[in-house]
Symmetry: D2
Subunit: 345 residues, 4 copies
């Protein structure tokens, strides 16, 4: 197992246990469309993490954009709009997928990548001209955020309280929820999240599945008819077992969901600490599996010969910020090699 790339956390296939689970179950005949026993068991395993009061439903889809499309469009009426930060994934990375289902996105500047009660209140205040403005109805947050920051439990509680007070739906995009929950800065559990939001999803793709995200519908009022939306948007697989088996493995005895994320975060933390100890600064704190070092352009050019990563932004005339992403499959020797190479340069 070798890794030469810090480009992203979806460059490889799946964790080997997941491939094994797919292989072992291969010839066992199952009902289609998510009614298989693997999906049922995966759902039980996830529910075990959601707290005793959880009274919702779980569905599996192939991609994160699909998870966002189905989750958001299933619970909004045509005139209802979404509040999100300018940098939100649904705002700038999904080709207008939410608008394609008919809904306006109301965007506000992010605070450290995040929504806050303050910027939500601002969005409500500036979109209140009835009936000339679309009605703000759903709050979209992602954890971890697009910039790798995470929400504390107190922050989630504050947004949840505001949502309930104002009659808003709170939805959490969990493409990198594993990285968030495994962060040393995190103090929230899956059960906390399930109790605070109306619906959220648990990303599988970036934490070691071939594909697959689990949508958790927490608010019982939103569970009715959910399967229709999955089917209508093209999100229901004939072999739903393929998703169920993978989430079974993620939430099995080895707790791969947390362990894979923890490994990725640990590799990022080691990169960050190593780079700082070599005298270079970071452009942002490393909370999850993304590191943003500021390096001299000459150093960057040399590193590029042996490692893959994105140059993120110019820092000044001679330096740039680069982005390093680690994953469940990042080999620690690769991290060491990267740090050694910087030290040489």
């Amino acid at each position: 197992m070798t890794t030469s790339s810090f480009l992203d956390d979806y460059s490889e296939g799946a964790h080997p246990d997941i491939l094994s689970a797919l292989t072992e179950s291969n010839y066992i005949q199952q009902a289609p469309y998510g009614d298989d026993t693997y999906s049922a068991d995966a759902t039980l395993r996830i529910k075990a993490c959601l707290g005793e009061t959880f009274n919702g439903a779980i569905h599996y889809v192939a991609s994160g954009t699909m998870a966002n499309i189905v989750s958001i469009s299933s619970c909004l009426r045509p005139h209802e709009a979404v509040i999100a930060v300018n940098s939100g994934h649904i705002v700038v990375r999904e080709a207008g997928a939410i608008e394609a289902t008919g809904h306006k996105l109301i965007t506000v500047p992010a605070v450290d990548g995040k929504l806050t009660p303050g910027n939500i209140e601002a969005a409500l205040a500036s979109n209140a001209h009835f009936p000339h403005m679309a009605k703000p109805r759903l709050i979209y947050i992602s954890n971890a955020t697009e910039t790798g920051t995470i929400y504390t439990l107190a922050e989630l509680r504050a947004i949840s309280a505001l949502a309930r007070q104002r009659g808003l739906i709170l939805f959490l995009d969990g493409a990198r929820l594993g990285a968030a929950l495994a962060s040393s800065k995190n103090d929230a559990t899956l059960a906390d999240i399930a109790s605070l939001v109306d619906l959220f999803w648990i990303g599988g793709t970036k934490v070691g599945t071939l594909l697959g995200e689990a949508i958790v519908v927490c608010n019982p009022a939103l569970t009715d008819d959910f399967a229709f939306h999955l089917k209508q948007r093209g999100g229901m697989l004939a072999k739903g077992r393929v998703l169920g088996i993978q989430f079974q493995a993620l939430f099995g005895v080895k707790n791969l969901f947390f362990e894979n994320a923890r490994h990725a975060n640990a590799m990022a933390a080691k990169l960050a600490a190593g780079i700082v100890s070599l005298g270079y600064a970071l452009d942002a704190e490393t909370a999850t599996n993304q590191v943003f070092p500021i390096l001299p352009d000459a150093v960057i050019a040399s590193l590029k010969a042996r490692f893959s990563f994105y140059v993120w932004a110019k820092a000044d005339d001679d330096q740039s910020v680069i982005r390093l992403v680690t994953s469940w499959s990042t080999d620690e020797r690769q991290v060491d090699a990267f740090l050694e190479r910087i030290a040489q340069l």
Copy 2:
């Protein structure tokens, strides 16, 4: 490998060669979103079947409904409608997925499960009241059809000629295209289809992949911007490799796409012939991998104890039509056991 079910052709996982290909490639890092080398190679392999004049593009998605959504919505303007048979999959099995993208379905009675120049002309004639009726623009056919029948090359040519004469887009849903092409009644090739339609898709799920369908955009005028539609509808996987690898295997040296379909069809033919030789009639000719025997209700009840299948319709007071579906994984011993059990009864 044992099979106790004739319920459908997506009860198992994947052909073992496909699982092996996923496993072997697992740690090789690849670019995301379909820009991986496996997808590129799969595309080359499929193109090799499409004829020298093919000048289009190929994209991979996770599900058949997604293939239909993206294919149809990418090439229609808002006022344009789809012509399909009453029993079409997009009409009665996709929860209104096409209407959800804004387009009307104009339905006509099927002729042996199929559209014909005649019923297409009828649809055009009865939807010509400009501008009060949506404009018929796209012809939707599936091969094999919902009822397991297939289009002959002459039939496809006739529809294609009409489409070109009337300025219509011709689209073919290939969820069971493998079964159609491997049918003993088939006289069309992939290259024929590519030359006659504007776009079509090659189903992987029902011919042995874990998931995945390949959309073939034949008309060069429709290739621009296609990737936007994939992304916007949630049809683009971060690990696009997962689809590419599987289609690489389907269209590899073993020609699994055709061989898997041929096996399914052969098992269906054996079932059909055996049942007829035992003195029972079929409700419809067996062209692909679906068999519709008419059996006494008492026989059906006994069979149900050991085999899974759907009772399709009442034939008369004492007899019913059942549906038997075979697949790439149907074990011939299971077919023999089924026939023996009927003989005993």
Copy 3:
């Protein structure tokens, strides 16, 4: 006032009282977007016809298609479908307007132009395959129907009872509601309709306004946020007064809404009776303001020289069905002239 045309009931401008009302109020400044005193008063006048238990809301829009778009799309979730007869206006005369808002139309054959509990039950039964079929949710009827027939009170009650039993929304398109209520065969009142349906609209255009239809939302659960939908679909006029003033006049002391319709129906009845007394048959009973005589083609050709009307269908080799439509502005002398001309021929 002369009329040479029996083409339709929207060939002229408005009833003179309506023009006068627009002129008299012209310089009085009013709040925009439907918040004017004229609209408020028109609403009071209409509510006076709706029964004491009415607890809904009334809104005014410019066109019938807009009334259908807003009414239907405001109360459906994305996966919910509409049940209508094959010949329904939304099915064949609105260019796919309802599908453009994302909803499937489930069509059934009409019984004398109408839906019945029987064909609604059939639609429910054949669209019950969860979650693969869109969920039937709203029943669309029009009164009078596209073919000029009307619903009796008993028929409306039966459909309403079924709708409530099955959790369906009942919606009535009233483009020609005036003609229906003024029919000699009618036994329903506006108050009856308001008590039986969830929402309906009262057509103004075909009963003497320049434009304008009044949407009556009867079910209090559907009134919230209705104005958003009006605005979002482009159905809210800056000078909402223009619609309010006209409905004030329609529902004023002269009761123009009923009187105009009664005149149109009376002219149709006179045409029908006269044609029958001249020895010609009718293709359908004359319930409202549409007459369908069967005449020799030679007679039709001669009539065409002096009158405008549509030839509707071939009856046999030598005869055709024509359609004659009368309106609030049809001059009785024109009816006499038409009958005299037939007599001469």
Copy 4:
């Protein structure tokens, strides 16, 4: 004719000539759906203003939001997005109408209420991540802008040149186009606009019609099938004559379109000059029919007792900006009375 309100330019009915035209034509039978002779003549009159090279089409709709919906949705494919200023009418005053047709709005900060080549280029640059971002395709401008500023001919030419160079569609919302063209700062003609944009609309409602806007499709490639979109969105009136007659009057010998706008602008200019001569400042230059004086709160309170207007924003602790809107029907004596009242205070 008295005016007590400076709230907006749609508080009254219609210019008396328009009411007369409706009355005079009332009983003349006409073809429906815009195929009447009045609409045909109105179109000829407007075309006479559009220059000899104009080779497009003109359609009439009831409301400005409808004009925007039909214009924009008729020429975009699902993945294509609109560039507009943050304060654009479609962004903040149409309840998400454009998103409801499936399209993303990409917003940029306005420069004096306007788009510029600079902020358009910025929008293109920051939305270029193929295929993860919706494709910028249509530039939305309004003239006059939401804040009453206007585009110079040079500014329009620069945007048009950029649009053509980058393959973008240029669309102009002309809700207050009359006010813009009648501005003393204006140097563009209708013919200039028709030669520079792909489509635009000429607002009738705010310049003296009861309702009605004329959509001018300049680019011949966009004229095909336009009527389908009108019908599908509910924008086609059965009595299309109602719109045609009014635009005939607007573009008749009296040139009401320009004269009504000129009167409104003149009244605004007189208000502005008078207020400045009384020693008060304006928050923005007065280019059209909107005036934004900065007045002491005590003065505002007194004015409110006799005149209607909006308080727009706080200027400082003791002063506020108010908005005064004049119209075709503003009585000069009312302007004088307003200025006298300020002088007294």
